[in-house]
């Protein structure tokens, strides 16, 4: 899989994190795995932590430390807050607009 350019990844990673957390309550390692499996390429876990802190500071997500259901050591599980749901909705709309615009440009190129 190609490694996505850093600048492109920077603009979309925040929205992607919100999307993963909106799907289920999860912790950093699982978020990383979800991103890799979704095709984001080799995203360094180190880039995820500052974003999680930023989103937590902006009250878009909330972390809660508790025992792992699989019996492993305690982890910090993140869930979405109302401000996070709003930010995700805005990101999704922006992304749809961007994708549609890109598609139109491609169509014009084919014609």
């Amino acid at each position: 899989m190609r490694r996505l350019p850093t600048q492109l990844l920077k603009g979309t990673l925040e929205g992607a994190l919100l999307q993963v957390i909106a799907t289920r309550e999860t912790y950093a390692y699982e978020i990383h795995q979800a991103l890799v499996e979704a095709g984001f390429g080799e995203v360094a876990d180190g880039t995820i932590y500052p974003l999680l802190l930023k989103l937590e500071h902006a009250k878009q997500i909330e972390g809660e430390r508790r025992a792992s259901p699989t019996g492993g050591p305690p982890r910090k599980y993140y869930h979405l807050l109302p401000a996070g749901a709003q930010a995700l909705a805005a990101f999704t709309a922006d992304w749809a607009q961007l994708a549609a615009a890109m598609a139109r440009l491609k169509e014009e190129n084919h014609e």
Binding site: Y29, D45, G46, H57, P73
Partner: protein, 260 residues
């Protein structure tokens, strides 16, 4: 993955450097930093369990990642800085004052000490920042505490002796006795409250407390002969046992909360 699993040496080294870089950052909220580092540690353990090394998993530029983590961690508030500044000044004034009393109780330069107590914390911040810059380049991870201790003992304290002396006063013997035993008691109480359940920590604190208690006992004029020679080891051993005993006897609810 079990709770008892530990990081391999190369992964532990990666984590230790990152942890030192983040916790040595000036003004970062310590509790928030510890919480984030605990999360990172768990992630590295899980990555290792899945066969991925720390650098491959977390990123090959830990310093840049450390900078971003520090930028997004909560920082000390203005009020927090004021409180820290006052505490730092008071501690430096007390320690430098005690040193001056031991050297010559008849000529203690209170004015100079008040100014030096302002400069010493600033110098310690500079030393910490300098130490932190080399976190990822030095051969072994080293605690900034050791660097600060050496810098204070070998450079900063000798420099203070060259500082102009003003506001000189004579300190009465009763004050030396009260301050010496008082500081020793405070240190031991603090160690018991921390409740680290460690003999090494207890011995370190006991040695520090002895540095206060011995001159106080000396000021009482009761240290001739064998009793005086034996007092230092007796104080170290006695205070170590006192700290460990207090640590053991004090109910956990009155001790400092474990932050991990």
């Amino acid at each position: 993955m079990s709770e008892t699993e530990i990081l391999l040496p190369r992964n532990q080294d990666y984590y230790d450097r990152l942890a030192a870089y983040v916790t040595d950052a000036i003004g970062v909220d310590g509790v928030a930093a510890d919480s984030t580092l605990a999360e990172i540690h768990q992630d590295l353990l899980q990555a290792q369990h899945d066969g991925i090394g720390a650098a491959d998993y977390f990123g090959r530029d830990p310093q840049a990642i450390g900078d971003e983590i520090v930028a997004n961690l909560p920082h000390r508030s203005r009020r927090g800085w004021v409180v820290l500044g006052i505490v730092a000044w008071a501690v430096c004034f007390a320690l430098a004052g005690w040193r001056a009393i031991i050297l010559d109780p008849a000529r203690v330069p209170l004015g100079s000490l008040a100014v030096l107590a302002l400069l010493l914390p600033l110098a310690i911040l500079v030393v910490t920042a300098f130490h932190r810059r080399r976190t990822f380049t030095r051969k072994k991870v080293r605690s900034s505490f050791l660097t600060i201790l050496l810098a204070v003992q070998l450079v900063l304290l000798p420099l203070t002796d060259a500082f102009p002396r003003f506001g000189v006063v004579a300190v009465p013997a009763w004050f030396s006795v009260a301050a010496g035993f008082g500081f020793a008691a405070l240190l031991c109480g603090f160690a018991i409250w921390l409740g680290l359940h460690s003999w090494v920590f207890a011995v370190i604190v006991a040695v520090l407390a002895t540095l206060f208690a011995y001159p106080a006992a000396d000021a009482l004029g009761t240290l001739p002969g064998w009793w005086g020679r034996l007092l230092i080891p007796l104080l170290v051993v006695g205070l170590t046992l006192l700290i460990r005993g207090g640590d053991w006897l004090l109910p956990a609810k009155w001790q400092a909360k474990d932050r991990s």
